[in-house]
Amino acid sequence: MSAGSLAGILSVIVVGALCCVSPAMNRPTVQFGVRVPAGRTSAPVIGRQRRAYYARTAAIGVCCAVAALLLRGHGSWWLARIILLAEMAADLACFLIARKNIRDVKNGERWFAGLRQAVVTDTSWRADPPRFPVRWLIPAIAVLVATIVIGVLRYPHLPARLAVGPVGGPVGGTPGGAGRWVPKSVVTAFAVVAGQLYVTVLCTGMMILVYRSRPDLAVADSDAPGTSVSRYRRFLAALAKAMLSLVALVNLSLLLTALRKWQVYQLPGSGSALPLLPYAVGLIVLAVVALRAGQGGYRLRGTGPSQAAGAHGPGQAARTDRDDDRFWKAGLIYVNRDDPALVVGARFGVGWTLNLANPVAWLIVAGTTAVPAGLAVIAATAGM
């Protein structure tokens, strides 16, 4: 099996598994993008829709994995990509079905009628802002520098023509692969370094934005001052470290690809998939950290000052999180003109998302797509 088809099959399996288990990471008060009051989290419709979603996405994942395995000998490397796209579309449809069914019951039974809907923040978040774990960026930068140094040392000894192909893909024009030969130049030899720089800058920049944004706190979790924000701090630190580790491992994957291109080593058959290994390890670590922490760190135990008194003061009615479904298009995309925030906690699964009502969000989207497009144009003009 070539490395390219192995990468395709692995992506189908990993994406299928992640989509299937995502609801388990969510806060009980946000089900399939639908805000649920704390008193309704055990409503029968939620249990039914969750079970249906697990069954459907598991079946889709198994079917797609089998299809990818059976078709690996046929067609080109892009066949696995098409299966992957079909799998993601099918999983999205399962999500939207579950969302619609829960929302119908919620609206029909008026779950939020008579409840006091609130948003909460903790002033200690800004008084004592969390520090970005800069040290965890060192491995990623070290790999990047090592790639440049090795590249500069190897460049004079490279032949006039270099093999190129997809990351971890077949090299040197093997049958059924996209690899081919291009003339040697600084652009063709150092394309990998541009990729490393892009990944490092993009992920670090996004994490710094997340550090400056608001903590993803829930009224339902805010039992006492300090507990929910300290939970979020630990969640953010764990996820940032896992993310920066992933960046270092992606850079390592790209370094291994570059070393092969620079003819430092050559492994036949499945051995050519070696560059994929660090990337896969990084993804698994990130997924495990996200699963254990849960959305906004709601699964972590609070270590803040334990106080018997509630957050609402004596004699005040209990509150629930604000019903904010109207700001979440398709339950996944945040668009809220009244909210000045740029980055907010993701609605489904663990992570963050952009507020697309904020013009800066569109600048970021344009920037992150323009850079790879620009790199592709440069690569194309260099004959890659």
């Binding site: 809907q117 609130a118 948003v119 002033t123 200690s124 944004s213 805010s222 008194a309 003061g313």
Partner: protein, 133 residues
């Protein structure tokens, strides 16, 4: 300190933010000299318009509770331990208190209950010489 507001509630958001900060100062969580988030930060953290928070901070500044400077941001200017209130402020407050107590009276709450509620609310405040309860 936790600040909880109800964006869809009947009370204007700027009023809610102002009220929650006054309560946080009274409760001892934000003593005199402690910093509050900047208007932009608090607007992001609560998901409300920047001008809304600006309005709240402006009211608190006029009431002498907040000092806002370009350099140090928003700082709590006074709390229960900062000495007696301004004599001009007392009649204004008494007027508002009278309205609030009248609301309880017309709803049929016995005088003893009204006093008990007042005491319960004040039990959460940090008065000078006592620690925050």
């Amino acid at each position: 300190v936790l600040l909880t507001i109800e964006p869809d509630g009947p009370v204007p958001i700027y009023q809610q933010i102002r009220d929650r900060i006054v309560e946080a100062i009274a409760g001892g969580g934000q003593p005199a000299g402690s910093g509050l988030p900047s208007t932009r930060q608090l607007a992001v953290d609560l998901g409300v318009n920047f001008h809304t928070v600006n309005k709240s901070y402006d009211i608190l500044r006029q009431e002498g509770l907040l000092r806002i400077s370009r350099k140090s941001g928003a700082v709590v200017q006074r709390d229960a331990g900062s000495g007696p209130p301004n004599p001009d402020w007392v009649p204004d407050w008494t007027g508002r208190l009278r309205t609030l107590l009248a609301e309880a009276a017309v709803q049929g709450m016995p005088a003893a209950d009204i006093v008990r509620h007042c005491q319960a609310a004040m039990a959460g405040f940090a008065f000078p010489g006592e620690g925050p309860s």
